[in-house]
């Protein structure tokens, strides 16, 4: 009797797991990239890129598909939920957002005062996991996605991840995910950032340096893709208010985290530098004003007196801080340090860091360790 009962319970369990309606891979439309735009007729337009089921790369064995390995679908609606509903219909299969790699938003939409509400709606979409990279692009995100090539023999998903890892390691882009944007707009710490994306102009010449803006980059580089990512989109209260170019983004990264390798020119000499540790940030209250001390420690493989480079880099870093102060944004993560000077979240909120940051006394010191 006991064994029968146990067997009965074990037999019932698989039927009660909610897996009766199975979600086969072939029945899922896995969106890897999603673009969000203002629809031409008002409302929201969504564009996704999904892999074609059954397609194999041309070099792989057993190629069964022909043509583009990815499908691009677009749907629009009066608002985000309606656009998503229309996209569900357009996908013709179960739309699955759990493997989203990239969320791209047009600059016009990101600069719209209604964007913070849209961030919340996107973040609470079922199974849209917020680890996706977050990009603000020049022009319409739908066009941006359609023009995104996949490199020969690579999958779009791994291609994008590898590219962003490489760019982040060299400080070309901030490390920004959609979760960072969502959390920052919902909390009272530093402002979020996004990656800046722009189409390649097509006028290229071989070069390998990162210049201060995309026109210079386009003029001096040749890449495999017509979609480029360089620089930072800045947000204040969830609305895009400006951007930093490649060189400024490197400074932003040096003030917030570790940068594996980068070049810097000072006193007519090129320095190959890397940061061994993230910068050390200290905050203290000086009356109503906050004083922030940032110590950036770098390593150079080349011998020589680094004092000129240290001073020049400190000036460059302070210029970026001043630029952000002028825009009234604080993307450096100083808030988490400054908050320690307050006992409770209410006190910290009342202090209103985001409006006080332009008055903050920020001091930056740079130390470059060179071989003896």
């Amino acid at each position: 009797m006991r064994r029968v009962l146990i067997l009965l319970i074990l037999l019932i369990l698989p039927l009660l797991t909610g897996c009766a309606v199975t979600g086969e891979v072939e029945n899922q439309a896995y969106a890897l990239v999603m673009g969000v735009d203002q629809a031409p007729a008002g409302g929201i337009a969504l564009t996704i890129r999904i892999p074609r089921i059954g397609h194999r790369d041309s070099g792989g064995e057993g190629a069964v598909g022909k043509g583009e390995p990815y499908l691009v679908l677009t749907a629009s609606g009066d608002d985000y939920p309606q656009a998503m509903e229309h996209l569900q219909w357009a996908a013709a299969r179960e739309l699955n957002l759990s493997h989203l790699n990239l969320l791209i938003v047009s600059r016009d939409l990101a600069a719209d005062p209604a964007f913070p509400a849209l961030i919340r709606e996107i973040a609470t979409t079922r199974h849209l996991y917020a680890t996706a990279g977050f990009v603000v692009c020049e022009g319409r995100s739908g066009d941006f996605i359609e023009g995104q090539e996949t490199l020969l023999g690579s999958h779009l998903s791994s291609d994008i991840s590898a590219m962003f890892r490489h760019y982040a390691a060299h400080g070309f882009i901030p490390s920004a995910t959609f979760a960072d944007l969502y959390y920052a707009t919902q909390s009272c710490y530093s402002d979020p950032t996004g990656l800046w994306g722009f189409p390649d102009s097509g006028e290229q010449a071989a070069a390998a340096v990162i210049e201060t803006d995309e026109s210079a980059l386009n003029a001096q580089t040749r890449t495999a893709s017509s979609r480029q990512y360089l620089g930072t989109a800045l947000f204040r209260d969830g609305v895009c208010v400006g951007r930093l170019d490649g060189a400024e983004t490197l400074c932003l990264n040096l003030l917030t985290r570790r940068v594996e390798a980068f070049g810097f020119e000072a006193d007519g000499r090129a320095w190959a530098l890397s940061s061994a540790l993230p910068p050390r940030v200290r905050a203290r209250r000086d009356g109503a004003r906050m004083r922030i001390d940032v110590a950036v420690s770098l390593i150079s493989e080349d011998p020589g007196d680094p004092s000129g480079a240290e001073a020049a880099l400190a000036r460059a870093l302070l210029q970026v801080v001043d630029r952000c102060k002028a825009l009234r944004v604080e993307p450096f993560g100083f808030a988490a340090k400054a908050a320690a000077r307050f006992a409770t979240l209410n006190e910290w909120r009342d202090y209103d860091w985001r409006s006080r940051f332009p008055e903050a006394d920020v001091r930056v010191t740079v130390r470059i360790a060179t071989p003896e």
Binding site: I6, I9, G18, H127, Y189, A343
Partner: protein
């Protein structure tokens, strides 16, 4: 079937269940302390000590009488854990599933666990504690670059009031589960042993709550829904996608232990309260109560929600009254 437990089984079950209760309570149920939830866990330990000490010192007759408020609290809390686990399943499921369908497998697992008896639950808890440590270690190692210690500041979070409110709730769970463990032991379980279990559970839970608060900042812009809390905890965060599996296994394993311990303890306490009732009948009545409360979603009822903050007050008051009426200072083991 034997619902009562040996001292070591009760200790292991208590640690596994209480750690889960404190973690899920302070991150989902009572986020009053905001980013100072870990402080609330420590405050809860301090606040609960007098009540646990008092329960330990009660005479057997008084302890039998205390079984009534304890089993009522356990049944409701077990149903609450079942409801929360079912809700988190629905957040993770790709298809929309009826809540009852998600609740039934959990109830089947509790039934099976109660059928095997209290000592089996204790044995499972010993294995789970080791497995849980490995899972959490994997999560921490992979999650390490994504933790932001700055989000723990300001240190007092929502303020002393919020920390105290959450601390009182934590004290209630401590008193409920530790009092129940003392009540369902075959032999006397000493205050020192309970204290050790409370210390371990609180330390682990406080550390986990602090780590969770380093995963996402305290949301201050608008009220946070339960869906958002579960979503940011289990899936929708800055953590890589592949970390979801160990996190979800740790979450549901912990919840399962909590539900099973509370349900089995409720049945065992019913047996203590009504000694003439056979173990099978205790199990039938106790589990039926838990199942009914869970399926009716009673713990989410407005009246129950209003009363929930007073769990610690009720247990402490009951222990004091029984001490006065029936006396204490006896039946407490030395260690």
């Amino acid at each position: 079937m034997r619902l009562e437990m040996s001292e070591s089984a009760a200790s292991a079950s208590l640690v596994a269940a209480l750690t889960s209760r404190l973690f899920y309570g302070l991150t989902l149920d009572v986020p009053d302390a905001a980013n100072a939830g870990w402080l609330a866990a420590l405050a809860g330990l301090l606040l609960s000590l007098p009540a646990v000490w008092l329960i330990c010192r009660l005479r057997p007759a008084a302890r039998r009488a205390l079984a009534l408020p304890l089993l009522m609290g356990l049944a409701l809390d077990a149903a609450r854990a079942v409801e929360c686990a079912a809700y988190s399943e629905s957040c993770l499921a790709f298809n929309h599933i009826a809540p009852a369908l998600l609740t039934l497998p959990l109830l089947a697992a509790i039934l099976r666990c109660a059928w095997l008896g209290g000592d089996a639950l204790g044995g499972a808890a010993r294995i789970w504690i080791r497995l849980f440590a490995v899972l959490i270690l994997i999560v921490i190692l992979y999650q390490l670059p994504y933790y932001n210690a700055g989000w723990l500041r300001p240190w007092l979070g929502a303020g002393a009031g919020g920390v105290l409110r959450a601390g009182v709730r934590a004290a209630g769970w401590n008193a409920l589960l530790a009092g129940s463990a003392a009540g369902i032991c075959k032999a006397e379980i000493g205050f020192k042993r309970l204290l050790r279990c409370l210390l371990i559970s609180t330390a682990v839970a406080a550390a986990l709550v602090a780590l969770r608060q380093m995963m996402a900042p305290a949301f201050t812009a608008e009220p946070v829904t339960r869906f958002t809390r579960i979503d940011t905890l289990l899936t929708n965060g800055r953590a890589p996608l592949y970390l979801q599996l160990p996190m979800i296994v740790a979450w549901f394993g912990g919840m399962l232990h909590l539900m099973c311990f509370e349900s089995v303890a409720a049945c065992a306490l019913l047996g203590r309260l009504l000694p003439k009732l056979k173990a099978g009948a205790c199990m039938a009545i106790g589990l039926s109560a838990v199942f009914a409360l869970a399926l009716l979603r009673a713990p989410r009822a407005a009246a129950v929600e209003r009363l929930a903050p007073y769990l610690y007050h009720a247990l402490f008051a009951a222990a004091v009254m029984l001490w006065c009426v029936k006396g204490g200072e006896a039946g407490c083991a030395a260690s």
